[in-house]
């Protein structure tokens, strides 16, 4: 006997949520299986609360020279090309991805590109005693060139045993990000690409794009200001809301990046975006 994969339902039995998922599936030409999401633990708007699996999330990192943020590509010597991916934020998201899967299912985190390999000590946290799960479940891949990097990202995203892929996404073009997006849709992983800030203006198939800026810290905890630059229809309701900045800080003991409890000095108005800090979240003023 041949079974039918889909069963017709009476119109009255479809809930609004199911209807939204069906429309979303038609819009994005993918299976009606709802994509699971990873809670970020950051609060704020719904967009910042969760990151969907099966789509690309781009994280634009930190550079040594702030004037390069708005440049198409920094000029000058090799030093100007140096940038740092927001590794602590990405590590936090890898932990969250690992926490939200069943123990027997996909449970590996693949770090592709030597630039996004964090110091292994950061992968150990103190959660009722030392927790080394992320360290033990991490695979580090060092492709020699961009083609190898793209191939490794594609392969890792399609693997059903991988829960998160953190990759160096620098110098990827629009067509290449489309390939990565297709691979991400095939799998169920959380796809995180770290990119340099001068690639912000480049086209990409990423669903969300986040910009990370350093923020002053009055104590020993490094702080960052994250800005959602783009959110492409994953959560339509949230996308219509005003996007916001959040100020996050690194909690070393817990191994988490969490919203800062204390809002500190304003950034320099000359270099800051037209946003205003208010109760841990920042709203646009102009």
């Amino acid at each position: 006997m041949v079974g039918t994969p889909f069963k017709m339902k009476r119109a009255g039995s479809v809930t609004r949520q199911q209807l939204a998922e069906m429309i979303e599936a038609i819009e994005f030409r993918r299976a009606s299986r709802p994509q699971a999401s990873v809670p970020t633990g950051w609060g704020g708007t719904a967009t910042a609360q969760t990151l969907a699996r099966g789509v690309i999330h781009e994280w634009f990192g930190l550079t040594e020279a702030p004037e390069h943020f708005n440049a198409a590509k920094p000029r000058g010597n090799g030093r100007a090309n140096q940038w740092s991916p927001p590794l602590l934020v990405l590590t936090h998201l890898a932990w969250r991805a690992l926490e939200t899967v069943e123990k027997t299912k996909e449970r590996w985190v693949v770090w592709i590109g030597r630039r996004v390999w964090p110091h292994p000590r950061v992968l150990v946290r103190d959660e009722h005693g030392p927790d080394r799960l992320l360290l033990q479940q991490s695979l580090f891949v060092d492709p020699p060139d961009k083609a190898g990097r793209l191939w490794a990202i594609d392969l890792a995203l399609r693997c059903p045993a991988v829960t998160a892929v953190v990759a160096d996404g620098s110098r990827l073009r629009m067509g290449e990000t489309r390939r990565v997006q297709l691979a991400a849709e095939q799998g169920r992983s959380l796809a995180l690409l770290a990119r340099p800030p001068w690639e912000l203006k480049q086209l990409s198939a990423a669903v969300t794009r986040w910009h990370v800026l350093r923020a002053p810290s009055p104590d020993s905890r490094p702080r960052w200001m994250i800005e959602l630059m783009r959110c492409k229809g994953v959560q339509q309701l949230a996308a219509r809301k005003a996007v916001s900045y959040s100020i996050l800080e690194w909690d070393r003991a817990k191994g988490r990046v969490r919203p800062s409890a204390q809002v500190v000095d304003q950034p320099d108005p000359a270099t800051a975006s037209p946003w205003q800090v208010s109760h841990g979240a920042v709203r646009r003023t102009g």
Partner: protein, 484 residues
């Protein structure tokens, strides 16, 4: 070098090298005592691994099958070989002994070899004779054994102590005593060992049986120059090999493919897998890129696939429970299999050393506290992950500390200004110092690691957190990491 084991919360020397033994180190001694004996001499200490030693001895016994038809491991450190019928191959026993000792010496072992008509006599002479290579002619066993100590009879410590107590130190003393009295006072085991050594009683060994690795091959009628035919043949041979492996309930870990070519040397292709597999699709995905690029020369006459290393891969059972058919394999098996295929594919294309895991190393130095190892290694490096706790370390650790220029208000204090990579940084927050001591006890560490370091976590005016340190002796400053 010494191997230590833990007994009653103390580190006890289980084995030691010849140099340590010559300096006075003995088995059963505490490690502290051994260090005191070897004061001034660098000492390497490794954990004693009896199971690993036993496995290595079995592997050596399998290797020795190329010299003798029957070889049995004799734990903890010996091999018993039955060389009956091998004399015509070597000419005489002395040449056989020399050949074997030279061959095993090339593997890095220093062996004492003796050849006799009984295992007991050969065991005794190999261990207690003055010569490293000995041959005892048939009928000369009594003469060879007479001057040797009684421990050469493979008797237990209590019996040896009882014999020494009554002044019997040599085997020759035992030969002079009446057998009936020996049984009455020291038991029948002593007499059995004497008879085994002299050949009065037959001794049976449990030899290692050679295992032929699963292999399939195809011989062509003539040299084949078409790549499509070669690829199709390799694919079919892979399916045949998978069938053989299924009957053996095993999977391949290392696959060796030999292409015999006309008039030129054979071509060998090797693939290694991270875990056993007999999945044809997966094996072919690894083989195909390599087969596509082979140089066929004037044509290929024969293709052979051999699973040189195999591992146990259990059959999957289908069982019925609560009216539902389900697989008996564990729930995490599909995920494990998928991940194994992922790392096999990554390692085949990028190379095994570009696909790594990280394991902790016992070191306070940040750059030496972790080591990368290839995921294709069959044995994971030893490392105590329990020693690794959460601590305030930067997310980016530079491969090598980079020198920086620093201005500090006090000589021992934190920097107030620094220049790194040509850029100036005004320091607004500094936390520290955290002192990390030198590793004076390790001979392997470079001289730069022999200095104490005072680490500071500093924040510059652009809110960038850096990890810098000052060498206490030289006073030089370095940048070592960043919280990003």
């Amino acid at each position: 070098m010494v191997l230590v084991k833990i007994a009653a919360a103390r580190q006890i020397v289980a084995r030691c090298c010849e140099r340590s033994a010559a300096a006075g180190v003995r088995e059963g001694m505490t490690l502290t005592h051994a260090r005191a004996v070897l004061v001034g001499t660098p000492l390497r200490v490794h954990p004693y691994d009896p199971l690993g030693d036993e496995a290595a001895l079995k592997a050596l016994a399998r290797w020795a099958l190329r010299c003798a038809p029957l070889v049995a491991p004799d734990p903890p450190d010996g091999l018993l070989m039955d060389v009956s019928g091998c004399r015509p191959l070597y000419g005489n026993e002395q040449r056989l002994v020399n050949t074997f000792a030279d061959r095993i010496g090339r593997l890095g072992f220093r062996a004492r070899v003796a050849c006799a008509s009984t295992f007991g006599c050969a065991w005794a002479v190999a261990r207690f004779s003055d010569q490293e290579r000995s041959v005892i002619a048939h009928g000369q066993e009594h003469q060879a054994l007479t001057p040797l100590p009684i421990e050469a009879l493979r008797i237990d410590e209590d019996t040896a102590a009882a014999l020494l107590e009554v002044g019997i130190e040599r085997i020759g003393h035992l030969f002079a005593l009446p057998r009936r009295e020996l049984v009455a006072r020291f038991g029948s085991h002593l007499l059995l060992r004497m008879d085994q050594a002299t050949g009065e009683t037959i001794e049976v060994i449990q030899p290692q049986h050679p295992v032929e690795p699963p292999s399939v091959q195809r011989v062509f009628d003539g040299p084949v120059t078409q790549l499509e035919a070669v690829m199709r043949t390799v694919r079919e041979l892979t399916e045949d090999l998978a069938g053989k492996l299924q009957r053996l309930e095993s999977g391949v870990r290392r696959l060796d493919i030999v292409f015999d070519r006309l008039d030129v040397a054979a071509l060998r292709v090797l693939i290694t897998l991270s875990r056993p597999s007999r999945d044809v699709k997966h094996l072919w995905s690894l083989l195909k890129p390599k087969v596509e690029t082979i140089q066929m020369g004037f044509g290929i006459e024969r293709i052979a696939l051999t699973a040189t290393v195999v591992g146990r891969l259990r059959h999957e059972q289908i069982e019925q429970a609560d009216g539902q058919w389900r697989s008996s394999e564990p729930d995490d098996a599909p995920a494990d299999r998928a991940f194994g295929e992922l790392i096999d594919t990554l390692a085949q294309r990028l190379g095994p050393h570009r696909t790594v895991c990280v394991h902790p190393v016992e070191s306070h130095l940040p750059e030496r506290s972790f080591r990368q190892h290839s995921v294709m290694q069959t044995q994971r490096p030893q490392g105590d992950a329990k020693q690794i706790t959460a601590s305030d370390r930067p997310s980016i650790l530079l491969e090598r500390p980079e020198p920086i220029e620093v201005m500090a208000i006090t000589p021992q204090g934190p920097p107030s200004w620094l220049r790194w990579r040509g850029e100036e940084h005004r320091i607004v927050t500094a936390i520290g110092p955290e002192r990390i001591g030198n590793v004076w006890w390790s001979p392997d560490v470079s001289p730069t690691c022999h200095s104490q370091r005072d680490y500071f976590k500093v924040q510059d005016g652009a809110s960038r957190w850096l990890w810098v340190y000052r060498e206490r002796e030289a006073g030089r400053w370095f940048a070592h990491g960043e919280w990003a």
